[in-house]
Subunit: 206 residues, 2 copies
């Protein structure tokens, strides 16, 4: 499916602050990638703009997209659909643009299946990374708290394994900067540019 551009997926557990980090990234200039606007069936809220915040559609239109394979990923929350229309993503990728998605974990796994070569970044809460230190310093936390944190950590590690990178959301500005560093570096990955480069060389040679 991916043609030329790189598909960038930012995801992570709910409440970790994906939206805030994404907005920080897009508030800065000089990005070489576009944000893919999600589609939803929920009602437009005051101040929201159709085509900027979401593509607002009816339930029937959304289900028609699902039925005809038009969604890259989608999920239903509280009776409303949310998802990424394949059409816009493909248009951008085919024009050589990198596309940035900020989506839930279940959606990210749908994308991973369809686009294994995408760049998958997991945003992780700082407490996961602090956990080890907390456990070592046992005594400051009671055992029940540690046990709860531990279970959460195990769940998050399970999720994280399906991603290429993990970035701690300790501070929004830091996390945004790290994600931009990762995206920059990935452009120089041999596996990303070499197949295309070889094809281009081959084409002109024949």
């Amino acid at each position: 499916m991916v043609k030329k551009g790189m598909l960038i997926v930012l995801s992570g557990p709910s409440g970790v602050g994906k939206g805030t980090v994404r907005k920080e990234i897009f508030s800065q200039e000089g990005n070489n990638f576009d944000y893919s606007i999600s589609m939803t069936t929920r009602k437009m809220r005051e101040g929201e703009v159709n085509g900027r915040d979401y593509h607002f559609v009816s339930k029937e239109e959304f289900e028609e997209e699902i039925a005809t394979g038009g969604m890259l990923e989608y999920a239903k929350y509280v009776d409303n659909y949310y998802g990424t229309p394949l059409k816009y993503v493909n248009e951008m990728l085919e024009n050589g643009k990198d596309v940035f998605l900020e989506i839930e974990v279940s959606g990210a796994m749908q994308v991973r299946e369809k686009c294994p070569d995408g760049l998958f970044i997991f945003l992780t809460p700082p407490d996961l990374m602090e956990l080890r230190q907390r456990i070592i310093n046992r005594g400051t936390d009671d055992l029940e708290t540690i046990d709860k944190r531990m279970k959460k950590a195990v769940d998050e590690i399970e999720m994280m394994q399906n991603y290429d990178y993990a970035v701690v959301n300790d501070q929004v500005v830091n996390a945004a900067e790290k994600i931009k560093t990762i995206i920059r570096a990935e452009r120089w990955r041999v596996k990303r540019f070499l197949p295309d480069y070889k094809k281009q060389l081959g084409d002109v040679l024949k």
Copy 2:
């Protein structure tokens, strides 16, 4: 072999400017990695310092290291040995330090076999990347020139396939900055920190 630190290998075709780029990287402050000093049997030149420019040893000492498996990689040029002693690299990695090697392509392939999880960066001459444009603009170059460039490109692409990243050495400062970006980003790779992290969590849990 790799314990905790990350092994960073910068390589590329001879004459591409690996040494200059490496020196540029190490002339800057704030690096989180150490340079691994090579071992050689060639004579010390004026201005060189043993243990800073090279570990200078006799041919017998070098061959003893080879025989006892003490070299991570080595090669012989014009009757002199050049190589990377495993001892220093392992010491740094075990202390959690990332280690930076700047070595020839043949040496890099020896390291790749022993440390597949290292970070392998290929420094490529700018003409390889300009080649496609030149071919498209055919007419400005004669066919023989294009053919020669093409053969060189094919060789370099063959080498490049064994690396994780490729950086064009268009300007030394640019190339150095890109390599540092790559090294930064790689620290957030899930495959790099997660195994260790899980082990640590597992250890404290039991």
